[in-house]
Point group: C2
Chain length 290, copies 2
């Protein structure tokens, strides 16, 4: 029997079918039309699934948070306007007559890495994605640890330094506001006096620009503290790094590794790897939910 | 069949038998004689177990860390001089002809709280002990999460603030050096210009002493950051507080709760309780290991 994975994004809706071993068979994508509600958008996905004409047990859904996994409900993700409170699991179960399972996008990408990617064969995997934001997943014995309130691995608000809050509702010194791509761009823009994004900061750093070097070094220090603090709590076999900032800048991940080794009691317990599942990790992981 | 729990301490060795429901039946304790090696000390424990004259499947052992749980070996705990590298599990298995299971003292106390104490009936429990040091346990679905290298829940070295390191080998701003009883005593002593311990600081605070109030408030802020950071990673159903600083000062725990609610995204996800198993938690939890 095939597996079906669904990836709900702010701009795109995607669906794919996989063999039991994780090999991708078919894939479809369509724009998420914000002028229409979730049911109208998902109806096109459901038609695509029916069009595949295959046998399947259920569908797994990856979606931006915050969500309530146990209720199968979307709460209020900022990039899914109009989807607030939508019972997405019930919708798919009613529409397709099969089981549906929901989890957030970072968790399903982490599940794919743990089962089929850089963490395969290992008992405990922490997946860290560094791109616009900082997300994570904690996968123990092949299963996502979701937490009591669907909030496990929501490390973006972890306090790693004494600095003022830069966004309403976020902690001062929050990991995401010190180490994400957005944060790297913000900090460099402030110090350079002109707007730059993270990609430009890393390019300037390669040219030896002192401000860019200092900003990236600081972000690496903060991310290393995050790694140390996660390691203090769950001591995983491996940290797998995904997200554009990590994947396009492996030397940045190496720098985080070097700094984190200085912070943990036993540096040899700290193993780092880059994500291996590529752009379809979210679909693969969603398919593994069922 | 009864359960047997063993508690290895720097000054005392203790053993107890429990009914299946956790009721204590018999207990024995003896000094840990540092002029003798571990085998000679444990031989007296083994004789006590034989003297109980009961049927049992195996023994659970709680011991100060660092340990290697999977190898059943003591590494180099500072308060067990002469026990370095001792294969305590193999020793008990050879001596008693039964199964033996090892875990650290904070983890077994947390296991007792999760199964029989303040966390009973809940899926995920974080136990935090605040006394001389700061220790923790993470119990998921009734089982200790030990980590890939026996280092899960070793939160004492978590970075919560930008401050210089106060002990060799520990991080600057490490949770234990900012929020333990020892830290509270150290910080108050520095500011008062005379040596005081944590109990004296809390007594001075009750009298309205400004320095004592400020030091305790700062420790509560740091502990609240620790709680927030742990919650970001594993999102437990409950935080259970043990250790003398917490148990003798429930208003301190309330202050930590108040501050931590301000740091997590959803304050209603944060439930606090005081430990309920008392002084025998370590023995009870050790007995639950088998």
């Amino acid at each position: 029997m095939r597996r079906i994975g669904i990836d709900i994004g702010g701009t795109q809706l995607r669906v794919a079918t996989f063999e039991e071993d994780g090999a991708l068979v078919t894939k479809a994508s369509m724009p998420n039309d914000h002028t229409k509600g979730p049911a109208e958008n998902l109806e096109r996905l459901a038609c695509a699934i029916e069009g595949f004409g295959i046998d399947y047990e259920g569908v797994g859904i990856g979606c931006p948070g915050p969500l309530d996994f146990s209720l199968g409900r979307i709460l209020n993700p900022p990039n899914l306007p109009g989807w607030e409170g939508f019972d997405i699991v019930r919708w798919f179960e009613d529409r397709l007559g099969c089981r549906a399972v929901l989890n957030n996008d970072a968790n399903v990408a982490g599940l794919a890495e743990a089962r089929l990617g850089a963490g395969r064969g290992l008992g405990s995997v922490v997946y860290l994605t560094v791109s616009t934001g900082v997300g994570a997943a904690y996968v123990l014995d092949g299963h996502i640890v979701g937490g009591a309130h669907s909030c496990a691995a929501e490390v973006f608000n972890m306090v790693v330094v004494d600095r003022p809050s830069v966004r309403l509702g976020m902690n001062g010194g929050a990991l995401e506001d010190q180490a994400s791509g957005t944060a790297i761009g913000r900090m460099a823009s402030e110090r350079l006096g002109m707007p730059v994004d993270a990609a430009q900061v890393f390019a300037l750093r390669r040219e030896g620009n002192e401000v860019a070097c200092a900003v990236v070094d600081d972000a690496a220090t903060m991310l290393a503290r995050g790694v140390c603090n996660i390691s203090c709590v769950v001591d995983p076999d491996i940290f797998v790094f995904g997200g554009s900032v990590a994947l396009y800048n492996p030397d940045f991940v190496d720098l985080v590794h070097k700094k984190a080794r200085d912070l943990v009691l036993n540096p040899d317990t700290l193993t780092f790897a880059l994500a291996e599942c590529g752009g379809d990790a979210g679909l693969m992981g969603a398919a593994l939910l069922v």
